[in-house]
């Protein structure tokens, strides 16, 4: 793989890396025919982000060396971010950025051609990996709104930086409401203030949602995407459904696409509440919701709308990566689209401690699926064995 980014697009790329870095610790870089994709997923698998830069975004784009299979790789987010750390520097001094992936040397080489002929070469070591893909369909979401990133960016400005989650809902008169979300356990001093922003429907380019619907999601990831969208001066679409179902945030442009899929708090009491009332009552069973793959939740939901990550690992590193995808047993029913089996039930307790989700977020379901290009024997059987071993 080889690609060349020039001019202002270097900063756009840098910005995208910055917003990805708010989510995951590892970056999946995959050259595709329709562009270069950069993806990440957070450790609790409740947030997934994907940028796809179209070939036109680049001065030169070559997905694969002719005669060779395209490579994909996984690198530490920190090391990739360090290349693009200073956005001011990217804007002021970098003229060209050349990224190449070489299977023979096992290095991802990022070369920055700067002013005065200075050249920075970063040789980053990477790991082979399978494609990271989330399965989601914005079209299946009941509600959708679209606004210039600036409108949403200004709306979240008043929220304290320490605020973890925000509730987005549709209030009376079709006004879009953003309200700081408070945890039940929060002490009274924190609880003392609720910040709420209300935006008129006229500020939205599109607004298809009924009054009364509301979802709660993490602000940190949202901020990351917003700051990217704001800098690129693009509109942001938010597709969402009932609480607990993932919300999909998208940015679309002729040169790039970005999708962020964030878990939402599963809180049935929320949508029926009047958005103006800060009191959020909570049902007792909700306390159990921290079990990520709670069987009841699992069975009751429309499984297809959940994200399914297809991450498999090849060869030697398989054993190393396995713990991070310990939720994988949950996936098998997805693949088969079959009902829950007894075995899953048994595997459940052992998988949950591996990936404690933040707060009461329902984790999005990820797992391992065979990559078609690779050995059909893939790791799925291995995963099953592991699960049994643990159980």
């Amino acid at each position: 793989m080889k690609c060349l980014v020039t001019g202002g697009n270097v900063k756009v790329l840098g910005k995208a890396v910055h917003s990805l870095s708010r989510i995951g610790d590892e970056l999946y870089l995959e050259p595709l025919e329709d562009g270069l994709s950069l993806r990440t997923v957070n450790s609790s698998r409740s947030a997934y982000a994907c940028f796809l830069f179209a070939p036109l975004f680049f001065q030169l784009y070559q997905a694969a060396t002719p005669g060779q299979d395209p490579l994909r790789c996984k690198i530490l987010m920190k090391s990739f971010l360090s290349v693009f750390r200073s956005l001011v520097m990217l804007e002021k001094t970098v003229e060209k950025c050349c990224i190449s992936l070489n299977g023979r040397s096992s290095l991802l080489v990022v070369q920055l051609h700067c002013k005065y002929g200075v050249r920075k070469t970063h040789n980053l070591s990477f790991q082979d990996c399978e494609s990271l893909q989330a399965v989601f369909d914005p079209a299946s979401c009941a509600h959708m709104l679209r606004a210039p990133a600036k409108v949403l960016g200004e709306a979240i400005l008043p929220f304290p930086l320490a605020l973890a989650e925000v509730t987005l809902g549709i209030g009376r008169g079709h006004r879009v409401i953003l309200r700081s979300y408070q945890e039940e356990e929060a002490d009274s001093t924190v609880k003392a203030m609720v910040t709420e922003m209300s935006i008129g429907a006229e500020d939205f380019q599109q607004l298809q949602a009924q009054e009364g619907v509301a979802i709660t999601f993490c602000l940190k990831e949202f901020r990351g995407l917003l700051s990217f969208a704001e800098s690129a001066n693009l509109s942001l679409s938010i597709h969402f459904d009932a609480p607990g179902r993932p919300a999909i945030f998208t940015i679309t442009d002729s040169l790039l696409d970005a999708h962020f899929v964030l878990a939402t708090l599963s809180e049935p009491s929320l949508n029926s509440q009047d958005l103006r009332s800060p009191e959020l009552c909570r049902q007792a069973p909700q306390l159990q919701a921290h079990s990520t793959c709670h069987l009841d939740d699992f069975a009751n939901d429309d499984i297809d709308s959940y994200m399914i990550a297809m991450e498999t690992t090849v060869g030697s590193e398989g054993s190393r990566t396995l713990p991070s995808i310990s939720l994988s047993p949950g996936l098998q029913p997805h693949c088969n689209s079959g009902p829950q089996s007894e075995e899953e039930d048994e595997a459940e307790p052992s998988t949950v401690p591996g990936t404690p989700p933040p707060k009461k977020f329902r984790s999005l379901f990820f797992g391992s699926i065979l990559a078609p290009a690779h050995s059909p024997q893939g790791p799925s059987p291995v995963l099953a064995e592991d699960s049994e071993g643990e159980g």
Partner: protein
């Protein structure tokens, strides 16, 4: 300033007296070498040299020549003392460290001699602060024996070009490798960190390159933790001269222009981390 004059009437008692209209001309230079708590000061009639050392491997010298001061007298040469640099800098910025337009802090500095404190009289807007800082037994400083006749490679760069490089150094790398060569890559800074290696290449015909005199290829490694503090001098400077001698010792000389347009120099010496390998 009648008060000041009274206090320092018996000027002949002092082995060092100096006065300065703008204290920042001194404090800025001292900040450039402030990476250790203590410094050794040497004063001769030419000016003051302040030395800071670390790990017997790196030495920084700041030269404040007599011309920077409005008045500068040394009775018996050389005047030597060790002082807590942190305390000295705190005192020099006692009226605030950020400059306010049109307001200058004036300084009068006196030192009576061995065993006496260093006296500072700082005046701003008619307010005078008197500071007495205890001096300490001067320590012997390292002699790097860096002689210009042994210099093999020498480059003068505009500091701008190196500033960003030093601020972004991959600190997970233990060493900074400096390659200087008459052939490609001419001047290269490399780090070898957890994430992989990074190389920063400067072509010899770059506009940043004020002069390029490299006679033979040298690849030397220096402890990054020892070189990183020189960033303080780098950010203040306008030009930097990078030299290596036949032993691989590194000399970094920073040219710093003060608020009055006068030039001062700060110099860092560093010894190489290991014997350079011929193959690289």
């Amino acid at each position: 300033m009648p008060l000041l004059n009274q206090q320092i009437e018996e000027e002949n008692d002092y082995s060092l007296t100096a006065s300065l209209d703008n204290v920042r001309n001194l404090s800025t230079i001292l900040k450039a070498i402030h990476f250790r708590e203590h410094a050794t000061c040497f004063a001769t009639k030419n000016g003051i040299k302040v030395t800071v050392e670390n790990a017997k491997c790196v030495q920084a010298n700041a030269f404040i020549q007599a011309g920077i001061f409005q008045e500068f007298k040394v009775q018996e040469e050389p005047v030597t003392f060790r002082i807590n640099l942190t305390v000295l800098l705190d005192c020099l910025s006692i009226f605030g460290s950020s400059p306010m337009p049109g307001i200058l802090t004036a300084l009068r500095m006196c030192y009576q001699g061995y065993g006496y404190p260093l006296m500072l009289f700082l005046e701003e807007g008619g307010v005078v602060t008197v500071c007495k800082i205890n001096t300490q037994e001067p320590e012997e400083t390292l002699d790097f024996d860096f002689c210009s006749t042994n210099v093999i490679n020498k480059i003068i760069l505009q500091s701008e070009g190196l500033r960003e490089a030093f601020s972004e150094l991959d600190m997970t790398s233990e060493v900074l490798q400096i390659t200087m060569s008459p052939d490609k890559p001419y001047f290269r800074l490399s780090t070898f960190g957890n994430a992989g290696s990074s190389h920063l290449d400067y072509p010899k015909d770059s506009d940043l390159m004020e002069s390029f005199n490299c006679t033979q290829t040298q690849v030397n490694r220096y402890k990054i933790s020892l070189l990183k503090p020189s960033t303080k001098a780098l950010v203040l400077s306008c030009k930097v001269s990078i030299r290596t001698d036949n032993r691989g010792f590194l000399s970094l000389q920073y040219m710093i222009r003060n608020e009055d347009g006068q030039i001062c120099f700060v110099e860092y010496y560093c010894c190489p981390d290991e014997v350079p390998e011929s193959e690289s």
